[in-house]
């Protein structure tokens, strides 16, 4: 496997005709957690994708699929002594960031890569005002004076649609509602105008009407600031709404990736197709059908099945699937599938209802 920064990318170039090099290129990433002296698991196993300026890449998967660990690996926030990147490369604007020191990473986090997390209450510091927390970012990365940093904080709060930003800048996180906190966190993440925003389940803890506000805000800010977004979620509705390209993960691997229209209209990997069929859609009351559930559960990373990791739950599994480890193959431009039998399977095209 060619691990160099500018080696042939596994995904992408054909999917998004882009004249520029990718902002972020993850190649064959492997992240290992040492659970004990004798037991370690590969939480991310050979994951590759790239992100271009201005696009939104969604990483979809269930719990334990490795989607959050992928983002933590990119940000260098893996739990110390337990998890580390054991293979592959993460190239940010031409520079491999997997081997950077903590100090060097701190210069990148917040400045080049912004982050928002699922639970705003646990990611904001409860003993500092939101203004202080945003100011801290710009003081650290842009050497602004305290007064200028405060002005910047107010400007950012205004940008994310928090009413009365001049008053709210002195509010503590607990004085804000869930939606407001999430806005404050977006303000903080974007204060230094990062090129990439990693959003890990940013709307999962929110109500739908607040989620709608948040998705709209993120799209608006992306149009305005031109950043790339890596959107990690398990909600296929949200994916369809925000993503340009999709990476589907299952048991630490990428199992399918492609342009969002392709993935939804024509999923080729049985797991992706299964996910699509297992969600109840609006409009189902007119024509009630049974949900097509995927049987079984996601395997534990400590006891992965041999062969294709999805085969014990797959309706199309044969002996071939138990034997070989399928690799990602390109089915159509930019559409990659990890399935031994993808050429022979027809999973039924989904037409818009």
């Amino acid at each position: 496997m060619d691990d160099t920064a500018h080696g042939a990318p596994l995904t992408g170039d054909l999917a998004v005709p882009s004249e520029t090099a990718p902002l972020l290129q993850v190649e064959n990433l492997q992240t290992t957690f040492e659970l004990s002296k004798t037991l370690s698991v590969c939480a991310v196993d050979g994951v590759s994708f790239e992100v271009h300026a201005g696009e939104t890449l969604a990483i979809v998967g269930e719990s334990g699929s490795g989607k959050s660990v992928t983002s933590l690996s990119i940000m260098g926030l893996l739990p110390k002594d337990v998890g580390r990147v054991t293979g592959g490369s993460i190239t940010l604007q031409g520079r491999d960031i997997t081997r950077l020191s903590d100090t060097e990473m701190r210069d990148i986090r917040g400045k080049d890569i912004g982050m928002i997390f699922q639970e705003p209450m646990t990611s904001l510091n409860p003993v500092h005002t939101v203004g202080q927390q945003i100011a801290e970012m710009v003081i650290r990365h842009q050497n602004l004076s305290n007064a200028k940093a405060r002005a910047r904080a107010i400007e950012m709060l205004d940008l994310v649609g928090i009413p009365e930003p001049t008053a709210r800048v002195d509010a503590y996180p607990h004085e804000m509602s869930g939606g407001m906190r999430q806005r404050a966190m977006i303000a903080m993440a974007l204060a230094c105008e990062p090129r990439i925003l990693i959003a890990d389940e940013p709307t999962t803890a929110l109500d739908v009407t607040i989620q709608a506000q948040m998705l709209e805000l993120m799209q608006e800010l992306q149009d305005k600031l031109g950043m790339a977004i890596i959107f990690i979620t398990h909600d296929l509705g949200v994916v369809a709404e925000v993503a340009d390209r999709v990476v589907v993960m299952y048991a630490a691997q990428v199992v399918e990736t492609g342009p969002v229209e392709d993935i939804f209209a024509n999923p080729r990997m049985p797991y992706t197709a299964g996910l699509m069929n297992s969600i109840p859609r609006l409009g189902s009351s007119i024509n009630k059908t049974r949900l097509e559930a995927i049987p079984g559960t996601v395997p534990a990373l400590t006891s992965l099945p041999a062969g294709c990791r999805f085969h014990p739950r797959c309706a199309f599994a044969t002996d071939v699937c138990k034997a070989g480890n399928p690799v990602l193959e390109e089915a159509s431009p930019g559409h990659m599938i990890r399935c031994t039998r993808w050429r022979e399977l027809t999973l039924g095209e989904r037409r818009a209802s």
């Binding site: 509602s177 739908v208 607040i210 609006l282």
Partner: protein, 322 residues
């Protein structure tokens, strides 16, 4: 027309807030405010709303896990709000609940055998020797097996635990089940399994169900009728098909338009509501939704709109609807 199995009239649940030196009641969280609806035998009724809408409190108050502040809940014609503890026990047997969090709702020190036989002992159903077989058959009913009887909850996955929670609710053969967000904590692929299981059980056992959820797709899939709540009050009640095709209340319309559709390129024109849900301590006067409503006028602040009929079995609480 079947008779109502459950009839809820003007249900209120206020949680007092104590304050001051003497810890007097200074205010109330009006979690459920004047809620009325009925559920017919064999029906699955959905209760939807955002956080703080009072949907969970309604479910818990029906079963008297919370004591209602006022109002009536008639189950099979008997007002269960007035029953004493002994009489209530026989109704508890007929009304059960499935909780949201499969990790928090099972005692980690109890084996599945105890989890499932406990309700049988409590309600003095059958003999001790029958309990084992009964527990095993309950497990099989929810897609697990007899071998699981001697395991502890931590040995199961989230989906399996929820199945155990369902089996426990079914142990006493209830007629009515409150399912409080039973699939929200589960992964997508597991959600569908549990939804299918609930549907099968509902049909096999002739259950009546109040299905509390915030996922509108799931609710439409499983429910016959849907109640929409906002800030402790009912906004709209209609059959699932009617509600999703012709939402009448501005809140229901906004709520439905906010649901992301899993079809790329189908981004709808949506009504994005401004602001947050107000505090249930000081809800807005008149219509509680008016502070976020795109159609609000001055009149909305004056009176609390009543549910009025806007179609066959379709009621909506908005003064602007016709």
């Amino acid at each position: 027309m079947t008779a109502s199995l459950l009839q809820v009239d003007n249900l209120k649940k206020y949680f007092p807030i104590h304050g001051g030196v003497l810890q007097r009641v200074v205010n109330n969280v009006k979690a459920v405010n004047d809620v009325s609806f009925d559920i017919k035998a064999g029906e699955v009724v959905g209760l939807v709303g955002e956080s703080g809408s009072g949907k969970t409190t309604v479910g818990r108050t029906l079963l008297r896990l919370e004591q209602a502040t006022s109002g009536h809940v008639r189950f099979g014609g008997v007002d269960v709000m007035g029953l004493n503890a002994v009489d209530m026990r026989s109704y508890r047997k007929r009304m059960q609940i499935i909780f949201q969090d499969p990790y928090a709702s099972l005692n980690p020190r109890e084996k599945v055998r105890e989890v499932l036989t406990h309700p049988l002992r409590l309600h003095r159903i059958g003999t001790a020797s029958e309990h084992e077989d009964r527990a095993a058959s309950l497990l099989e009913k929810v897609g697990l097996s007899r071998d699981h009887l001697d395991r502890f909850p931590h040995e199961f996955s989230g989906g399996q635990r929820q199945r155990i929670g369902i089996a426990r609710a079914l142990a006493v053969e209830p007629e009515f089940i409150v399912a409080d967000e039973p699939v929200s904590a589960l992964d997508v692929s597991i959600q569908a399994q549990v939804i299918n299981l609930l549907e099968d059980l509902k049909n096999d056992l002739d259950l009546t169900m109040l299905f509390i959820a915030h996922d509108l797709g799931v609710v439409e899939h499983i429910c016959d009728r849907v109640i929409v709540m906002y800030l402790g009050r009912v906004m709209e009640i209609a059959s699932a098909a009617d509600l999703y095709a012709r939402p009448n209340h501005p809140y229901t319309q906004a709520l439905l338009s906010a649901v992301p559709i899993p079809e790329p390129g189908k981004r709808r024109k949506r009504t994005v509501l401004k602001g947050d849900i107000p505090s249930p301590i000081n809800p807005p006067s008149g219509c509680v939704f008016r502070t976020r409503c795109p159609m609000a006028t001055e009149d909305c602040a004056k009176v609390v709109p009543e549910l009025k009929s806007v179609g066959d079995g379709h009621t909506s609480a908005c003064i602007h609807t016709t």
